[in-house]
């Protein structure tokens, strides 16, 4: 009998795991597509299974989830069509828009090149670190868009929609949840799935209006006791451009629960309101609660960098490195600062560290090459540049050629320098710096007409540079066109008021005009 029992071995109903468990496991292993597939199957069998439904929303959300605190780019429309009236003449040092070009002891504009917005070049390329705030609509539409860094028109429509469509392409057959038919009030009361649903609507569907609706009703259902919903409400307001409402929600959330993310979001609100000092206060409050938090420290140093207070920015980047010795942004920024403060040998150390950490691209070799050259380690210089050239994409190669041009100028090989600058122009037609340097070389050769054309092109391509204006003014002064020289040297001084050579040229011209 016993053997019979053994023979009627109960057949295993399924020789696989419980599909929900499998889906969960896949979710944890970040195999989101697999997870979504299993969930879809299960939902086809039982459309009302909330656990599966919730898992699927989360899997779909995770696929497109972006950390909003980092790397947010302000769109053209956000910058220019901002209807929040902000004092246009802010007190110095209290506004990111009117930060003076060189202040507080950092290296001057002569040594440290500036970005299009007139800020000193940062060590890393972040969204917004290259473009900055344009002055006029015309400038906004023209300058960044000709170069490779095309700025989206608006943060809400541009990037987020692009991400949304990307996710749609991947799922293929229509959307998972029909938002228009969603009974928001019902789900708002079901806390177990409301949060997952919110994130799905917010990140995956990018429908801020519905997300806001859900968040508002959910927080109401919980009698305004849950800080998480307040943060989400704040996010929605922030995305909609209602910064003061967002500020209120974030502050209220912080009263209930200290959270790094909330501090970061509140700080961003103040940055968008152009109140860097207020956001510094927020970040410092956050640091009191979470000492040594790297994201907060980084945010502080970014603000100081925006305010052109480079020594302070570097101080905070150093604090970052104390807490996280492998922080790429901090290492790169400190390295850049050392390089432009005439300490290339120290910068070399920082960039070498980046290389050891496994960053292996054109930019790093380019920087290493420059550091080697200026720190007089000549044997390494050209090897680094060679490698940079071999690794370079179309975008970066122009800068490598441009820097090689500088090396060639440094060793006095004018011909090589000339070829390098021309090659920089081949890969990037809008390389204003190369045009300017070519102009100087042509000027030395005596081709004044060509030099003048180059200076003019350079000035129109990079309106943030004072060098082409000064060079053009000097050229005009040399050929005796004093009136032109006078007008153009004033442009140079507008961009860099402390430029001594321009001031002297202006003084000479004024005496010319005043002499009877």
């Amino acid at each position: 009998m016993a053997t019979k029992v053994n023979k009627t071995f109960q057949p295993c109903r399924t020789n696989i795991m419980d599909p929900l468990f499998l889906a969960l496991s896949n979710f944890r292993r970040r195999n989101f597509e697999k997870c979504v597939e299993i969930c879809t199957e299960l939902l086809n069998k039982n459309p009302l299974d909330q656990a599966v439904w919730s898992l699927k929303t989360r899997a779909l959300t995770e696929q497109v989830w972006v950390d909003e605190c980092d790397g947010e780019e302000e769109g053209l429309a956000d910058v220019l069509m901002d209807d929040n009236t902000i004092a246009s003449v802010a007190r110095p040092g209290t506004s990111l828009r009117s930060a003076p070009p060189s202040s507080a002891g950092g290296p001057s504009q002569t040594f440290r090149p500036s970005t299009q917005s007139g800020r000193p070049l940062s060590g890393v390329v972040r969204p917004g670190s290259q473009g900055g705030r344009p002055g006029t609509m015309d400038q906004a539409l023209r300058t960044p868009r000709t170069s490779q860094t095309a700025r989206p028109v608006s943060a809400t429509s541009g990037r987020h929609v692009r991400l949304g469509t990307a996710s749609m392409l991947s799922t293929g057959d229509g959307s998972f949840i029909n938002l228009a038919r969603l009974n928001v009030a019902k789900y708002a009361n079901q806390q177990n799935i409301a949060k997952a649903l919110f994130e799905y609507i917010y990140f995956h569907e990018n429908d801020v209006r519905h997300a806001l609706d859900l968040a508002a009703q959910a927080t109401q259902a919980l009698n305004f006791k849950d800080w998480w919903w307040k943060v989400q409400l704040g996010r929605c307001y922030y995305r909609l451009g209602l910064f003061r409402d967002a500020e209120k929600q974030f502050k209220s959330a912080l009263k209930q629960q200290d959270n790094i993310n909330t501090f970061l979001l509140l700080g961003r609100v103040y940055i968008r309101l152009d109140q860097p000092m207020a956001s510094l206060d927020v970040y410092k409050d956050g640091l009191d609660k979470f000492p040594g938090e790297v994201t907060l420290l980084t945010a502080i140093s970014r603000i100081y960098e925006g305010l052109n207070d480079l020594p302070k920015a570097v101080k905070f980047y150093k604090d970052v490195l104390q807490c996280d010795a492998t922080h790429v942004e901090a290492i790169a920024c400190i390295g850049t600062n050392h390089f432009y403060s005439d300490q290339p040998e120290v910068a070399l150390r920082f960039y070498r560290r980046l290389l050891q950490m496994g960053i292996y691209n054109c930019e790093i070799f380019n920087n290493l090459g420059l550091c080697c050259f200026y720190a007089q380690q000549y044997d390494m210089t050209l090897t680094c540049f060679e490698r940079a050239l071999s690794l370079a994409t179309d975008q970066g190669i122009a800068d490598v050629w441009y820097n090689l041009g500088h090396i060639a100028l440094g060793i006095g090989d004018i011909n090589l320098a000339y070829q390098c600058f021309r090659l920089a122009l081949v890969s990037d037609n809008d390389h204003g710096e190369s045009y300017n340097n070519l102009g100087v070389l042509e000027y030395r050769r005596g081709n004044l007409e060509t030099a003048r054309a180059f200076f003019m092109t350079s000035a129109s391509l990079s309106p943030h540079m004072y060098q082409p204006h000064y060079n053009h003014a000097k050229l005009a002064h040399k050929v005796g066109d004093l009136q032109t020289s006078f007008i153009i040297v004033q442009k140079a001084l507008n961009l860099f008021p402390a430029h001594v050579d321009s001031q002297e040229l202006l003084k000479t011209l004024e005496t010319h005009f005043q002499t009877l």
Partner: protein, 582 residues
């Protein structure tokens, strides 16, 4: 403003007379107890209008006590003890022209005349012959004029100098008639003078007079007999004197001369020893303890030690008008006061600025000392003639503020970044492996030149350059994208960069992936390009891709029927925005 409040804390204004109408310099002022009653008087040799009305004025307190008329412009006033009679009252010596007038009890007492100089024999003969009417006036004028070319203005007697200033014949004749009967003498004038204690160092001991003259001599006079005890010579005319020591024991005279040199004279030498060379003419000289402080015309204040080694120098904010040393015995301090041309008086302790006094006018003369019954009194004469007397408060201190730094006037040092230890280490490496490093660098450089040249040639071959510098068609192309999409405007700017030759038969061609973009006008004919003028060609480009991607658009500039483009520009198109929202 902080300085202002400081100075009002330290100084009390004792007397201010804006209508004193004094015209004098620091060397023509003295403070002395002239009557032995313990009440110091202020003695001022007033230059009057500069031509007449010269007076020796004595102030007792705020009142003008006495006035003596002077015959010539005064160059210095000094008080000194010339005998041992009781009560000990000093005599006043006024240097004026080539005389020294000695006043005792404010009454003329003695006149000392400087020894005459040798008259040039040619000049002497000329005047003698003119007197005997062997020469007429114009002949005399010519002889003297040529002599002036030869020996210079200073080599002539004052009579000849004055005669040469008469330009018309009549005045020359009257001058000759007036003066020809007198003996021709060549005199020199006193430029500066000072006192030197004879054998005792007490305050009221007998002093000798030390004179500097226009003939570049230094004379030391005996105070009783008024004979020249010692005569020394200098290479240039002395303008400032500083004397210390005792005549009978050892003394040292420091002289600043008109040639910008400082000389030192000691007992027993006949010729001044060059001590220091200045960058400009001196405007004031002070000696204190072991150092010499000189202000110069180029707005510098220098300090030298006795050997002539420069201790420090300061760039002053304005030209110096006068200089005075403030010896405050109660504090054991010797300060330097400088009257500047920006209506300030700066007080320095060594090279540290310790006080600033703001005045209503430029101060031309400063004297510090005992005035009335007050020990530390600062007497200042303004350019407009007013007299200002300030008393130093007993509580005043002149501490050097460390936070203030060495003074604002110190030249700012260049902030040269310090070289790191790392740099030094790397330099060591460079020094040890220099040959190897050089070889590697040169080797890499050759390779770089080669690869650059290759890349350059290939760029030229494909004409993928926005600038053409060929002799035939020097052109420059720049392109811009305008608009937000899906329809963009491409703007191509063409410029002929040659100086004279125009470019003909040019055309612009746009090339792109036709699945992504459509170009409205892909071929644009360019009219004749005049040198220097920018020609703009525009077209519309529409993005037709549904994928929302961006691509590049190439712009070629071609000439005639040539099969190769002259120039190429690659435009990276931005992502079309509005298209996505639909």
């Amino acid at each position: 403003m902080g300085e202002k409040s400081n100075s009002s804390e330290r100084w009390l204004t004792a007397h201010h007379d804006p209508l004193a109408s004094l015209y004098t310099f620091g060397s023509c002022m003295a403070l002395a107890d002239l009557h032995g009653d313990g009440d110091s008087k202020l003695i001022i040799a007033d230059l009057g209008t500069g031509a007449y009305n010269m007076k020796l004025k004595v102030y007792k307190g705020t009142n003008l006590m006495s006035e003596n008329t002077l015959i010539d412009l005064p160059t210095g006033v000094i008080t000194f003890h010339m005998d041992t009679t009781e009560p000990r009252v000093p005599a006043v010596a006024v240097a004026s022209g080539s005389y020294i007038y000695i006043y005792k009890n404010l009454r003329p007492y003695f006149k000392f005349t400087l020894p005459t100089l040798e008259v040039n024999p040619t000049e002497f003969d000329a005047w003698n012959q003119a007197r005997d009417e062997l020469l007429d006036v114009s002949m005399l004028y010519e002889i003297l004029d040529s002599l002036r070319q030869e020996v210079g203005e200073c080599g002539l007697t004052t009579r000849s100098q004055r005669f040469l200033m008469c330009h018309d014949h009549a005045s020359q004749l009257t001058f000759l008639e007036q003066h020809k009967g007198f003996l021709l003498k060549r005199q020199t004038v006193v430029t500066c003078f000072s006192t030197l204690k004879k054998s005792h160092a007490e305050d009221d001991a007998i002093s000798c007079l030390v004179l500097g003259t226009e003939s570049a001599n230094i004379f030391i006079l005996d105070p009783e007999a008024f004979t020249i005890l010692n005569s020394m010579s200098l290479p240039s005319v002395p303008v400032f004197l500083c004397v210390n020591g005792l005549y009978d024991v050892e003394y040292r005279i420091i002289v600043a001369c008109r040639n910008g040199q400082i000389y030192t004279l000691k007992r027993g030498v006949k010729l001044g020893r060059p001590t220091a060379e200045l960058t400009s003419q001196p405007v004031g000289l002070i000696r204190r303890d072991k150092s010499i402080i000189v202000a110069t015309m180029d707005q510098y204040l220098y300090s030298f030690n006795n050997k002539g080694k420069r201790l420090w120098s300061l760039k002053l904010p304005a030209p110096v008008l006068c200089m005075e040393s403030l010896e405050i015995r109660t504090l054991g301090l010797t300060l330097t006061a400088l009257g500047l041309a920006d209506r300030r008086v700066l007080v320095y302790r060594d090279k540290h600025l310790v006080d600033t006094i703001h005045t209503q006018d430029n101060v031309t003369a400063i004297k510090f000392g005992r005035f009335g019954r007050e020990d530390n009194t600062l007497v200042m004469i303004m350019k407009g003639g007013s007299l200002l007397v300030k008393i130093l408060k007993r509580t005043a201190r002149f501490e050097v503020e460390e936070s203030q730094g060495p003074s604002q006037a110190v030249a700012v040092k260049l902030s040269i970044p310090k070289k790191t230890k790392l740099f030094v280490d790397q330099t060591m490496r460079e020094r040890e492996n220099c040959v190897l490093m050089h070889r590697v660098f040169q080797h890499d450089l050759y390779r770089l030149r080669l690869s650059t040249a290759r890349a350059y040639v290939s760029a030229l071959d494909t004409s993928s350059n926005p600038v053409s510098l060929s002799q035939s068609e020097p052109l420059k192309l720049s392109a811009q994208v305008l608009g937000l999409g899906p329809t963009f405007k491409l703007r191509v700017e063409l410029q002929n960069t040659s100086s004279v030759t125009p470019s003909l038969e040019l055309a612009v061609v746009f090339h792109c992936d036709d699945r992504i973009y459509t170009v409205n006008q892909s071929f644009i004919q360019i009219p004749m390009l005049v040198p220097g003028i920018v020609h703009v060609a525009e077209t519309l480009v529409t993005c037709i891709s549904e994928l929302g991607i961006s691509d590049t658009v190439r712009v070629f500039v071609i000439k005639g029927k040539a099969n190769r483009p002259l120039l190429t520009a690659v435009i990276n198109m931005p992502v079309a925005e509005v298209f996505m929202a639909t």
